[in-house]
Symmetry: C2
Subunit: 235 residues, 2 copies
C-alpha cells in the first residue's frame, strides 16, 4: 500500500505536485483510471482515480472518503536540537512513524545547535507519514526558548506536562505518572541535560519530573522512548 | 560519568587496549592515580585507579566491585538485516541503549542484505553499552536462516516466543500477550515482510503473532518498538 499527498484539493478534485506526480506516474507507473490513495496531511484519506496521468501535474478525482483510525490522545514533544543533524532528523522520522502530533525544537542553556533546516524536516515528516500509513503530518513548530515554551504551556489544563531528564533523584517514571487517553507534552533536554535552574523553573510552572528507564539515554533516544511509551500505554 | 572497557582483567589488574587507553589518557586527560569506572562487558562494573598512564597500554588497579542493576528478564530479538546499512546499525545502537541481551540477524525469504560487517557492529555495541552506562555488551550472533532459528528455539520453554509482522489479521499486540518479568524472543521480518509460509512455520513451532501498534513500521523501527515495549512493560 502506498499513500500520495496533496495540499491542493478542491471539492472532489486533487492535483499532485511535481515530485508526487513523478513518483506516481514515472516511478510507480500508474496510469489513467488507476485507483490510488491520497492524504491531505490533515487527517483526510481518500480513494482516488487518476483523471490525467501527466507526470508533472497528475490530476485525481476523489471517489471515496476512507475511514481513518483516530487516536484519542494528543502527544507533543519539545526537544532540544542535537549537534549531529542526522540524530535529530532520525528522531523526527521515528516519532512520526510511531505516532506524534506536534514537535517543538527548544533552545535550552546547553543547546549547541541553533539552526534547523525546516524544509528538510518537512520532507522527512511527509515521507515518514506516508511510510507509516498515517493521514496526518505532525506539526513542526518554530524553534523557541525553553522558558518561553514553559510559559506558553504552564496554564494549559488539557495536557499532562512532563520534563524528562537524567537526575538521579527522579523516582517517578513516565509510565507510572501518565494517565491513559490523556493529552501530554513532554520536554526532552540537550546533550549535557537541563541546568538546575531550568528544571526548577519547569517545576514551578506545573511540569513533573519523569525518568524514561534505568539507562542513560541520548537526547534522540529519549525522545523516541517518550514517544513510544505514550503510544504503548494507549494501546 | 564515563565507562571504560577492558577484556583483559586478571585478578585486580586490568589493561586497556590501545583505543581505550588513548581515549582515557589523551582525549580525557586522565592521569596517574585518577579513579575511573571500568566494565568487562559481561556484567562487571569496577571502580579503578590508574597505575600506569601509558596512552598505548593504560594499566588499572581494581579498587571496588560496583553494584549493577540486574534486569530480571532476558530479551532476544531476531531481525532481518536491512538493505540500508545505516538503518540496521541504528537499530543495533538504539536496542543496546534501551536494553537488550541478544540480537540474531536472520535470513528470511525476502531478505536482500546477506552480509554484515561484524566488526563494525561490535564497535557500535560497545560504544552504545558504555554510552548508556550498562555493564553488559549484548550478544550479537552469527547470521542464521529463518527456519533454523525457529528450530533452535521451538522447544525453549524458558522464553515467550513472538513473531511481529504487518498482517491485518493480527488482533493481539505484544503489550497484551507479554507477561512481565518473562524472558522473550521476538522475530522481526525484512522489508516486504515474512512470506505466508514463514508465518505458518513459526505458528507450527510455538511462536505467537503480535502487532506492534496500528502504524506500518519499517523493520528497524519495529525492532526498536519491540525492544522498548518489553523494557517499558518491565518497569
Amino acid at each position: 500500500m502506498q499513500y500520495f499527498y496533496s495540499s491542493n484539493i478542491i471539492n472532489d478534485l486533487a492535483i499532485l505536485n511535481e515530485e508526487e506526480s513523478k513518483h506516481c506516474i514515472k516511478v510507480l507507473r500508474h496510469k489513467l483510471n488507476d485507483k490510488i490513495h491520497l492524504i491531505d496531511g490533515l487527517g483526510g484519506l481518500f480513494l482516488c482515480k487518476i483523471l490525467d496521468d501527466n507526470f508533472n501535474q497528475c490530476k485525481l478525482q476523489i471517489i471515496k472518503n476512507e475511514d481513518v483510525v483516530q487516536r484519542n490522545f494528543k502527544l507533543h514533544i519539545a526537544i532540544s536540537p542535537i549537534k549531529n543533524v542526522d540524530r535529530f532528523e532520525w528522531f523526527i522520522e521515528k516519532a512520526t512513524e510511531i505516532g506524534i502530533d506536534e514537535i517543538t525544537p527548544i533552545v535550552c542553556n546547553k543547546t549547541e545547535k541553533l539552526k534547523i533546516k525546516k524544509e528538510r524536516i518537512q520532507r522527512i515528516l511527509l515521507s515518514a507519514t506516508k511510510q507509516s500509513l498515517n493521514a496526518t503530518i505532525p506539526k513542526f513548530n518554530e524553534m523557541i526558548n525553553f522558558k518561553d515554551f514553559i510559559n506558553i504551556h504552564k496554564n494549559n489544563q488539557n495536557f499532562e506536562k512532563f520534563i524528562a531528564y537524567c537526575g538521579t533523584e527522579i523516582t517517578n517514571n513516565l509510565k507510572s505518572l501518565y494517565s491513559k487517553n490523556s493529552n501530554t507534552v513532554i520536554i526532552i533536554g540537550p546533550e549535557g541535560d537541563f541546568t538546575d535552574n531550568e528544571v526548577a523553573y519547569s517545576f514551578e510552572n506545573g511540569f513533573n519530573a519523569v525518568s524514561l528507564g534505568i539507562n542513560r539515554l541520548r537526547t534522540e533516544t529519549a525522545g523516541v522512548i517518550a514517544c513510544s511509551t505514550i503510544n504503548i500505554l494507549n494501546i
